[in-house]
Symmetry: C3
Subunit: 100 residues, 3 copies
């Protein structure tokens, strides 16, 4: 059993951004993803008021390089305009070659 | 792109505790949170029998100090009375100043 | 407040595998679990085409030994036949004795 360290990238965004984000993640090299319907509240993005409502949590297992590219992409194109949260964790995966 | 290490606190509890927990998290300094409807089973709290049913998973990104305060609060006020699970992970976040 | 490091094992699988996986996790020593309905897409397992549809995310807090056993079990019995993703993270838990 081969264990490999990969990056789990988690993105929380308004549901309306889901399809666009998935398309962009694939374009940056993500081989798969998981989407969870969530509710949230926060104070991020250009909205003057806090937002509260239906969001999606998108999770994808990728290499460290792809994880960095995703964070940079979100920082460049989303964080000043949208209420998007993103964070990265290191996880241990079996059969890591399936994800990179 | 500035990457900051923050704490992701995850709390799993009966759905009836959701609003109270959110209010308390905000009072301890959490700036945002994500709620997921989940199902679970476990053997925790005062219930003699295992519980199985509708729960919520509450996740919040906070500083290490706030994470410690949340865990201590849960230990003091919940763990002997309610079926509550809580754990903390270190995650890498872009724009960490939004959360502390 | 006693903090213990435990393993959070996450399994993402087709919903039809949920009950079987839960039964097997319990048999390997998992004391509790959380199930989330998710959607996903990936290219894993024997299916020639990508799969997209209703999945479950199963999460369980266990000891390092049980986590290894779970991954080995999945590698032996699932990964060549089913579209199953599994990964492990180290988390800090209060009252860790409840889980092992």
């Amino acid at each position: 059993m081969q264990i490999v360290a990969l990056k789990l990238v988690t993105i929380i965004a308004e549901a309306v951004l889901n399809d666009r984000l998935i398309r962009e993640l694939k374009g940056m090299g993500a081989k798969g993803y998981t989407i969870t319907q969530v509710r949230g509240e926060g104070s991020r993005g250009v909205r003057a008021s806090d937002w509260e409502g239906q969001n999606v949590k998108i999770e994808t297992l990728v290499s460290a390089v792809v994880a960095d590219n995703i964070l940079q992409h979100l920082a460049d194109h989303y964080f000043t305009l949208y209420a998007v949260v993103a964070y990265v964790q290191t996880v241990e995966v079996v059969r890591g070659d399936k994800y990179t």
